[in-house]
Symmetry: C2
Subunit: 341 residues, 2 copies
Amino acid sequence: MKMSDVAKMANVSPATVSRVLSNPELVSKKTRDKVLEVINQVNYQPHIVARQFRTKETKTILAVVPDITSAFFSEVLRGIEHTAIREGYQVILGDTENSVERENDYINLLLQKQVDGMLLLTARLEKEKLEELAEHFPIVLACEYIDGLNVPTVSIDNISAARKATEHLIKLGHERVAHICGPMNVILGRDRLRGFRQAMMSHDLDVDPSYIQEGGNESLESGYNQMMKLLALETPPTGVFVYNDEMAMGAMKAVKNSGLRIPEDIAIVGFDNLKMASVVEPHLTSIDQPKYKIGQKAMSILIQKINKEKITKQSFVMKDHLFIRQSCGGQSFVSSSEQKT
Amino acid sequence: MKMSDVAKMANVSPATVSRVLSNPELVSKKTRDKVLEVINQVNYQPHIVARQFRTKETKTILAVVPDITSAFFSEVLRGIEHTAIREGYQVILGDTENSVERENDYINLLLQKQVDGMLLLTARLEKEKLEELAEHFPIVLACEYIDGLNVPTVSIDNISAARKATEHLIKLGHERVAHICGPMNVILGRDRLRGFRQAMMSHDLDVDPSYIQEGGNESLESGYNQMMKLLALETPPTGVFVYNDEMAMGAMKAVKNSGLRIPEDIAIVGFDNLKMASVVEPHLTSIDQPKYKIGQKAMSILIQKINKEKITKQSFVMKDHLFIRQSCGGQSFVSSSEQKT
DNA sequence: CTGAAAGCGCTTACAG
DNA sequence: CTGAAAGCGCTTACAG
């Protein structure tokens, strides 16, 4: 059943059927009702690919994530999808599994006009390549970013958030503070390390090189292994800021397996504020990112770009919060980076 | 840049360019090389939507999940996506957020020919509707299913797995065994309850009605609340089989918050064997589903259906395993439903 | 308010 | 092995 069949049955032209579907206000009520009746009667479904082909719009966007199994991204994706649906867009999900090649592959969907725009939740491509691409196609970055990149980006200030997390430990009296790093080939890993260093320096605390555990991926296991190394030191740290909650939970497991207590022997701060952070024992103190909002914001900016609206700002910095729970032994209150606006 | 431009530059017809791209063996090596050179030189990208329109194939399938934030589904999705990519298909993800209406909405993608097939990881539609739909479009169910449905389905045997989980508690000497149910409007919730009842009955154990906690969703919070109700009973159970790991972790939290010990005061078994099951304290004994394999299998069957191959079986039952950890106090070994084949 | 006609960029049956 | 031509099912500028 195609549009011309419906047209025949309703004694109108295909053009009129098309208008009833896409611009009903252009058609008289009488004609419109007649056409709609036929459409309902035969349960006509327009061939959307034909429409996409004709209009050069797919009403579909691609969201590329580095790891679909991460609890962090699923929240961001919800924000993206809700906004997309409200605006009449569908979302295709691309999982790179942390591979730059796969990230590159997904760009073909743009080049081949299979999607109207792309949301990158991972940004490991070269800056120049990405900028060049963004001149021709609607692209928005979120969560991850590239320094000085001239492409709209939605994220939190990872450096200051990491500084805040580290300072929380310092303020509780810890002087031997360590950092379990994220991947150093990802900017978030470098930023959070930098924030850690800044906090230590501004409080005149030395950073023992062995207190910085690099290497490994973002997994539970990696957090476990790196914490084991810290515990094996002659003078282990008393406080540890961990790259993210997933690794922090691995680190907690290492501490407990070693017969030590959290926070009495080792205090731990995480990052991302996953749901699990308030399930593990003791509940994990963590930096919260407004995951859902980041998704929403990134999607709305992408739609603006698709509609060729001018974007004034290129960098959208969202608020983070330190959720203080029991893993550092601090009292229970919420500190925030919020500037009241 | 379109195909006819490339054709002109290479002094061939558009048909030849098309053949070079889709059926290179039909073109002489000389012509082929000439065309490929032009393609590379101008970096030509075919307009895929035009191809989809022309061939009536989108090479895209839709995977519908009830909850994208669930750690369980992301593993299944990986299995789906890896198989899809290997076979030249893309995957669109549809998140219903447990709403039947949203599940219904995604069916439009099929009706409108936007996807070649659909993988349902949730199945809350009416049986008749789904069967009717499956007559006209390639559809495969996975994880969830509908009793007696004549549509290919990949899952584990939830009833026997639930029985096995419950029997594990019984064999450890528990007589007051309770079940924290999943949602009763989902077949998995009903099946696991049934398995629980079967185990109790076949060991001549009474099931106190108050030991069956129904109601609530599949969340951590719901697991917490239902366990609190069990603990408030005059004679609380000593062992609890919980619908899934997420709820089980909520239930564990309730036990600990009440000052009781796991497994000494309350033993707990979960379901799904999430990664977090071996992170929480104590590590959670749980039924493992072969998530990745389920995804792989479901996707290969779907591709067979798309290719109009005959499917002999309609029901594909995968093996589950009981992973015994510390939350029941049993010793550490793996029991399996595996029939050596 | 409505219709006739062109055309989006490919693929493929047909002819040579 | 290659080309000319038709056609996939819509939308939209144009004319009336």
